[in-house]
């Protein structure tokens, strides 16, 4: 395709990407370098239904003038990135200087909010992604080999978890694992332990979230693999059969290599999606045991009456950075393959 034709087709999409993706990201980056103006406080008597008290309040007029002069706030450089709520360089330095052994270092770092969230996010990404690919592949192979009249209904039901809104899906599961719910009560009966609570123990909460993640995303992998299976060349399969390959060997040596590019694609999508895990944490009320980077951003923006834009912006950029680092190996592999082909 000539470059001119290419540009003619691509420019609306490019324009939208610049306007709605690139510019906002630049703006977020800009905001992350600023913090609020120093608040000018005044002491005044505050009275209400429960009596009077001298309390401080913000001098709104003086602040309005400050904001007029510098709308973005005070320049803070990268200090927001390095503070204790984010990368916490000072604290980490101190932890390494004063801790006695590796266990203590680990515990103290895990106590920092950013690293706590990062650990869960990475664990979720690297446990859920391969399981999704594996489970999706198995479902696809199984569905592909069942009788034709059953295929429609089976495909429909396999897709259900993906059709359900994430928040609703997690809430349904959340009520099922309640100690009065069918899964929660069932597990209690199975293990004979009436105090077993999937919601209370951090380990069980993590496992629940992983299971939910696999349940929710497996249909995506299934659909992609199933579509791929329809295009597997039948003559290759037949010649493998003539050569005496068993069913397992045909899958292992013909189908899997053939579908590998699709697996790369799913891995790419899933790495991105899972790194931004958020809804299940809200749905399962799991914030006590598991927080993710997206949850930190949400918390900065929504928990308090006055949002912390700088802090949320810094976490956002760190998340984008994380996604890029995660995708680099996959993208590099794709790039090499692309170069080999052309």
């Amino acid at each position: 395709m000539p470059h001119k034709t290419f540009m003619a087709f691509i420019w609306p999409s490019l324009l939208a990407m610049v306007l709605f993706i690139a510019l906002p990201i630049i703006s977020v980056g800009y905001q992350s370098l600023y913090i609020e103006h120093e608040q000018i406080l005044i002491e005044s008597e505050t009275c209400g239904p429960f009596g009077c008290d001298t309390e401080v309040s913000v001098d709104a007029q003086a602040m309005a003038q400050l904001r007029e002069e510098q709308p973005a706030g005070r320049f803070n450089g990268v200090a927001t990135y390095t503070n204790v709520s984010h990368l916490a360089f000072d604290e980490i330095g101190e932890i390494f200087a004063t801790s006695e052994n590796f266990g203590e270092i680990r515990n103290r770092i895990m106590n920092l909010p950013f690293y706590k969230a990062l650990t869960f996010t990475l664990a979720y990404t690297f446990i859920v992604t391969p399981l999704v690919i594996l489970l999706g592949f198995i479902i696809a192979v199984v569905v592909n080999s069942i009788p034709k009249f059953l295929k429609g209904p089976v495909i429909f039901f396999s897709l259900l978890p993906m059709l359900v809104t994430p928040l609703v899906g997690s809430l349904v599961l959340y009520w099922m694992i309640d100690s009065r719910g069918i899964i929660g009560a069932g597990l209690q009966a199975l293990f004979g332990d009436p105090s077993l609570s999937l919601k209370a123990s951090p380990v069980l909460t993590w496992i629940t979230l992983f299971v939910y993640g696999v349940w929710h995303s497996a249909p995506f992998a299934f659909v992609v693999f199933y579509a791929g299976l329809q295009t597997v060349p039948q003559d290759t399969i037949e010649s493998a059969m003539v050569d005496g390959a068993s069913r397992w060997e045909r899958v292992r040596f013909v189908i899997v290599p053939y579908l590998m590019p699709l697996a790369t694609f799913i891995a790419l999508m899933q790495l991105m999606d899972n790194f931004r895990v958020f809804e299940p944490i809200i749905g399962f009320s799991a914030a006590a045991s598991a927080t993710s980077l997206s949850y930190l951003i949400y918390n900065d923006l929504r928990a308090s009456e006055s949002p912390l834009f700088g802090s949320a912006a810094a976490t956002s950029l760190l998340t984008i950075l994380g996604v890029i680092i995660l995708l680099l190996p996959v993208l590099r592999r794709n790039w090499r393959e692309f170069n080999r082909k052309t």
């Binding site: 913090i35 609020e36 103006h37 120093e38 608040q39 406080l41 005044i42 002491e43 005044s44 008597e45 505050t46 009275c47 209400g48 239904p49 429960f50 009596g51 009077c52 008290d53 309390e55 401080v56 309040s57 913000v58 709104a60 007029q61 602040m63 309005a64 706030g73 005070r74 803070n76 927001t80 503070n83 204790v84 709520s85 106590n111 909010p113 309640d178 100690s179 009436p194 105090s195 609570s197 919601k199 209370a200 123990s201 951090p202 009320s285 914030a287 006590a288 045991s289 918390n299 929504r302 928990a303 308090s304 009456e305 006055s306 912390l308 700088g310 802090s311």
Partner: protein
């Protein structure tokens, strides 16, 4: 606390003289746009304010639990999207800090005769909001269960633990419940208890945090002790999660919001036997202190600054109609009203007991919200046993200090 409940004769006379003369509120023209939280008492007020709508007066109300997240952007616009913002003790703070609401003194002078002095929220000599109801957490207990086991109504946490202990020994697996979900709820419990110790959250006159002291440790240890009597699912308990457990008769003692009391004992409660034996008392006191461990909250309305004087006037008068003593008729049990003529129903017992015990108000400080968030995020590890109380308080301090620095309250 000027919570004098006058003889209802005056209110009755007002109601009798109501009718036609009140229905059009006397507003000539203007637009009234109300933004409020969503619970029954506020619906009652908003519905009455809507009665003021005429051909030339428009009244709309947006009732949403998301109100505190949209109020600042909505009122920053010029003209503001809403003319009235119904706020609570904490959500008025950002409106004050950003200078988005107007003083109400001129309007009160003209149309505010019905108000009690205690309804006026005065900041630095100017009335910025009109409060009309109060709320607080307090003790819920099952009268029949306590009697059956020969337990007195607990007045202190020691008594509460003794009662829970006894119930546990006599077959109640988890006799206690409270809003311990990490985040807003858990932080509110800490603040309740800490206020009960009489301690200060901040160094006087500054935003420097002052909770890492003995009171703070005592509070945390008390909270941990509470969890021993609660179902392990307590990490997911908020008001909505607690209610069905109480209604199922699985707990006999609970610390919960006063605004929920009417639901527990109302006609719609699923088990009327439990509803009938549900009773309320002040939040227990802690240690030697005699202050109930509860933060007092008010709900009230404010008028936006960025609107025309005509709309502001119309809004004030419509809200005056909304919170006129007539609103109490049929809504007496929906809240602890601060309106003249309110006669407390049984559902108000707990909040009134808190008021009589001189519980402290929730601090109306510009940086209190940041502390609330820091507390909500950092206490659950201690309660789950993976961290010491000292470490939990240190984490709270670190999180708060970072946030307060970014918000410009600390250097």
């Amino acid at each position: 606390m000027n919570f004098r409940i006058k003889a209802s004769v005056a209110a009755a006379a007002l109601i009798a003289s109501a009718g036609g003369a009140w229905a059009d509120c006397g507003i000539e023209s203007g637009s009234v746009r109300i933004l409020s939280n969503d619970f029954p008492a506020l619906s009652a007020v908003n519905d009455r304010a809507a009665e003021c709508a005429t051909n030339s007066v428009e009244v709309t109300a947006n009732q949403t639990t998301e109100h505190r997240n949209i109020q600042v952007p909505a009122l920053s616009a010029d003209p503001a999207t809403y003319t009235v913002a119904v706020v609570a003790t904490s959500s008025i703070v950002p409106l004050l800090s950003d200078d988005l609401i107007r003083p109400l003194d001129v309007y009160i002078e003209k149309w505010g005769d019905q108000l009690l002095d205690s309804q006026k929220i005065v900041v630095g000599g100017k009335t910025m909001a009109i409060a009309f109801m109060a709320n607080a957490q307090h003790l819920y207990y099952r009268d029949d269960v306590l009697k059956e086991h020969g337990i007195e109504v607990p007045g202190t946490y020691d008594e509460l633990f003794a009662a829970a202990d006894k119930l546990q020994q006599e077959g109640w697996e988890y006799p206690l419940s409270s809003n311990f979900m990490p985040g807003w709820n858990l932080a509110a419990e800490f603040i309740n208890l800490y206020l009960g110790t009489g301690g200060q959250f901040f160094e006087p006159g500054s935003a420097e945090l002052a909770i890492d002291n003995e009171d703070g440790i005592t509070v945390l240890e008390t909270m941990k002790k509470m969890t021993e009597y609660m179902s392990p699912d307590y990490v997911t308990y908020d008001s909505n999660a607690q209610t069905p457990i109480w209604e199922a008769g699985e707990v006999a003692l609970s610390v919960a919001w006063g605004s929920r009391a009417a639901n527990y004992i109302g006609e719609e409660a699923p088990d009327q036997e439990i509803a009938a034996s549900t009773a309320f008392a002040a939040a227990p006191t802690l240690g030697d202190s005699t202050t109930p461990t509860a933060a007092l909250w008010w709900d009230g309305f404010t008028i936006a600054k960025n609107i025309s004087d005509e709309d502001a006037e119309a809004s004030f008068r419509a809200m005056m109609h909304g919170i006129a003593p007539e609103v109490l008729e049929g809504n007496m049990d929906k809240a602890v009203w601060l309106i003249e003529g309110f006669e407390p129903t049984r559902a108000a017992d707990g909040v009134i007991a808190n008021l009589q015990g001189k519980a402290k108000p929730y601090p109306m400080l510009p940086y209190m919200g940041l502390l609330h968030v820091a507390l909500g995020d950092n206490l659950s590890e201690f309660l789950q046993g993976s961290e010491s109380a000292e470490q939990a308080l240190a984490d709270v301090k670190a999180a708060y200090t970072t946030a307060a620095t970014e918000a410009g309250f600390l250097n």
